[in-house]
């Protein structure tokens, strides 16, 4: 009723509406979003938090017992888990770096208007629109020693069979390359957005001063895209942290466990082994890390906003 009154009220006098709206309208408009998120995200999270203190398994009928912090202890003292975190860190570090390099180079290429730009840019954007399944399956095929395109190319120069995925390093390279190929266009768009926002008069001024192109890049372009790059690093880090499908399809975590990421591990724990509670505990440890990363991300975004207002 008060809302209706408010609507009527402000129709008569703008002053009054502006006074009351922040109190009523804000919460009202935000409510659907908060409710949906609470039901589908926050509530399940709290539930899982509760479960992580029990010894529940989704495929057993026994009534779960309260075990306190045992699941957390077990996960944190498991060498395997730390090994998986390490693998994830290697993949994230290398893949994000590669995405930045490729994405940056592509962005430089597309930072100008030229004929057929939109069509050629579509070619570069397509990998991002493929499903993980197809990227996984076809890169696995490209790497296959007998049938693979890559192996075929290598065999033009050497007669030894080329099995990229046979060593830990090779398998990691294979995974990182596929992931970086898929997501570099994302970074490209990000950088491109930064590049196109550099005011043209700055370049014109630099031209008059006959500044070298490297200096021009360092003094004009970089400051404009610096915080955007940081943003790209953080955003892709958080996304790559979740890497699952590509690994699961290309190597299944092999050889041995060389490429098994934390997401693959938690998937096995939750859906193959049905260690529901234990996987919940691990999920919370991951969530903690993600929140730290998110904070860094926000910090960088805010700093950029701050820079812009200066």
């Amino acid at each position: 009723m008060t809302d209706v009154a408010a609507v009527h009220g402000h129709a008569k006098s703008g002053f009054w509406a502006r006074l009351t709206a922040p109190e009523n309208r804000g919460p009202l408009l935000v409510a659907p979003a908060i409710i949906t998120l609470f039901v589908m995200n926050i509530f399940p999270l709290l539930w899982s938090f509760g479960l992580s203190f029990f010894n529940y398994r989704a495929n057993r009928q026994n009534v779960p017992e309260f075990v306190g912090l045992k699941n957390f202890e077990r996960v944190l003292t498991d060498e395997k888990i730390w090994d998986r975190f390490q693998t994830t860190a290697i993949i994230v570090g290398s893949s994000v770096t590669l995405q930045l390099i490729i994405g940056f180079s592509l962005a430089m290429l597309f930072a100008k208007h030229f004929p057929m730009r939109r069509i050629i840019m579509m070619l570069v954007l397509t990998p991002m629109m493929l499903s993980f399944v197809s990227v996984g399956v076809f890169f696995k095929l490209y790497y296959e020693p007998t049938f693979g395109l890559l192996s075929w190319v290598v065999n033009l120069f050497s007669s030894e069979p080329f099995a990229l995925l046979s060593s830990s390093t090779g398998a990691l390279i294979g995974i990182i390359f596929a992931d970086a190929w898929m997501w570099s266009p994302f970074v490209m768009l990000l950088v491109l957005a930064g590049l196109v926002s550099v005011p043209k008069y700055l370049y014109e001024a630099a031209e008059i001063d006959r500044v070298s192109s490297w200096r021009r890049f360092v003094t004009i372009t970089l400051p404009y895209i610096k915080s955007l790059l940081l943003l790209a690093i953080l955003f892709r880090t958080i996304e790559t942290f979740k890497i699952f499908d590509i690994i699961y399809i290309i190597t299944e975590g092999g050889p041995g466990s060389s490429t098994e990421s934390i997401a693959v591990n938690i998937y096995r724990m939750a859906f193959q082994n049905f260690r529901t509670s234990r996987s919940g505990a691990l999920a919370y440890i991951i969530l903690f890390i993600v929140i730290v990363l998110t904070n860094l991300y926000l910090y960088s975004v805010n700093r950029r906003a701050h820079e812009e207002t200066l």
């Binding site: 057993r60 049938f147 990229l164 299944e252 092999g254 050889p255 041995g256």
Partner: protein
């Protein structure tokens, strides 16, 4: 524990509503829909097509079969999700035998022991089913074939029965006649190893692992060399078997080596006395595993990546990159199809090699494949009875012969003993010979955890990260701890 109590109550109410709402009034002729979860492949596609054409309910019901065809790679996850989420969607489920424990313990698969005991037709079926299949596909807690046979009757005491064969599978050797029967190659092989290059089925019956390894060395050729009178345009290999990290794609073959050498995996039919430590990593087991690994260097290079799974060896064989492969009968049909196979007109099938014993006989013990199908627990008696009618229809000899003619396999001894059986499909003779050697891997709910860890350790050995002994030590240690925790080892 407010969560669990709550969830139990809600579940209970849901189940009750379904039962009373759905099928409370028994009529003489009812409309019954049976939802069945099935992997998406020809044996189950045939099941559906043949059902629609021929099934008539003996109880006079108007029965429809709704199949949910789920892609193989996500079949386990999908079935597990459906069962544990409590949606109670399926009345029948095609299942890998290893999943029995997990889903029986979860309360999803129906114990059919009493139903079978009360029904002479079902008893007759159980008596006619090959005992290796009854042991592997039906019993939980798992009983070995020996334990069942010692009981002396089709329904052993203290044994619970759950499943019936939907597709009984074994691995056999797929081989290229044009190479193995090539006179020049045979003569060269004779000269080099003083042995016959196996060409006929009978020749293959005499192939042991030693001979198979020789074939591997003999037929491994580089690009540009000669093979069966032709110049090779690509590297060529003689032998292959599964050695992949995914699912069970190395354990199935490695287990065969371990059993043939006289070693053992952790034996759940001996639980809780049976140990993992000292058994899984015994000297014999290590020797057997080393034997399994010893042939891999002569196989196609994908073996070095630990990805030589059952489909990769099938592809290598069908594209003419390898002269022979040991693979499931269930994957045989595409080999004969010109659309998928370059060697469709050059292929023949023999038994899988085994280990020669001191008396000269060959031990071919292998790990059974294929799938049983089971009933679920949330159905009315009427639906259960009708589902059992479907079971009887499927295991009727006429249906079985039809299934076999269309690329299936039968588990009924009377059907397999039929003289025409071997001619129905080219691998049938080998399949019948192999089925008698089959044993199964674990059925307990922890199976997936054990399998994943074992596959990972085996993969380390296959890709050269670890020795056979270190890998088996790691497997034994893990299994011992895991099984002790859950009371399967005391």
């Amino acid at each position: 524990m407010p969560l669990s109590t709550f969830h139990r109550q809600v579940l209970g109410t849901c189940a009750a509503t379904l039962l009373t709402g759905g099928f409370s009034t028994p009529l003489l002729a009812a409309d019954i829909t049976i939802n069945m979860a099935a992997p998406d492949w020809p044996p189950t596609r045939f099941f559906k097509e043949h059902f629609d054409k021929t099934y008539k309910s003996p109880a006079g019901h108007n029965t429809t079969l709704e199949m949910d065809f789920i892609p193989w790679p996500s079949f386990y996850e999908r079935v597990a999700a459906s069962l544990t989420s409590g949606e109670q969607k399926y009345q029948m489920i095609v299942t890998d035998s290893q999943w029995l424990g997990s889903f029986v313990e979860g309360g999803y698969y129906l114990d059919l022991t009493e139903k079978i005991k009360a029904d002479p037709e079902l008893i007759a079926i159980m008596e006619d089913l090959h005992p290796a299949l009854v042991s592997a596909y039906s019993t939980y807690p798992h009983k070995s074939r020996k334990q069942l046979e010692e009981a002396g009757s089709a329904i052993a005491p203290d044994t619970h029965y759950y499943g019936f064969p939907q597709f009984p599978d074994t691995y056999v050797t797929f081989y290229r006649k044009d190479i193995f029967c090539h006179e020049g190659e045979a003569a060269a092989f004779k000269e080099q190893y003083d042995a016959t290059l196996p060409c006929t089925y009978e020749d293959w019956q005499d192939v042991d692992w030693e001979r198979y390894a020789q074939i591997g060395k003999f037929l491994k050729r580089k690009k540009g060399e000669q093979l069966a009178g032709e110049t090779l345009t690509d590297d060529f290999y003689g032998i292959s078997y599964q050695a992949g990290k995914g699912y069970d794609f190395s354990s199935m073959q490695a287990n065969a080596f371990i059993w043939q050498h006289g070693g053992d995996i952790w034996d759940e039919t001996n639980a809780p006395e049976g140990q993992a430590e000292g058994v899984v990593n015994s000297d014999v087991a290590v020797e057997a595993f080393e034997h399994y690994l010893s042939m891999i260097p002569d196989m196609p290079p994908v073996a070095q990546t630990g990805q030589m799974d059952i489909f990769v060896i099938q592809d290598l064989y069908m594209q003419g990159k390898v002269a022979s492969t040991i693979d499931w009968v269930g994957l045989g049909e595409p080999v004969l199809d010109p659309a998928s196979s370059k060697v469709h007109d050059k292929s023949a099938f023999g038994p899988a090699p085994g280990l020669r014993k001191e008396d000269g006989s060959i031990d071919r013990t292998g790990n059974i494949g294929g799938q049983p199908f089971v009933l679920t627990t949330w159905n009315s008696d009427e639906v259960v009875d009708e589902a059992l009618n479907v079971v009887k229809w499927w295991l009727d000899p006429d249906t079985q012969i039809e299934a076999v003619s269309n690329g299936g396999q039968s588990g009924l001894m009377s059907v397999m003993a039929d003289p025409s059986y071997n001619d129905l499909r080219p691998w049938n003779r080998a399949h019948v010979e192999m089925i008698d050697w089959q044993k199964d891997v674990w059925h307990i709910p922890l199976f997936f955890e054990m399998l994943t860890q074992q596959q990972e350790e085996f993969d380390k050995a296959i890709t050269g990260q670890k020795s056979a002994r270190d890998a088996l030590d790691a497997v034994a240690e893990f299994q011992q701890e895991l099984l002790e925790d859950d009371g399967f080892i005391e």
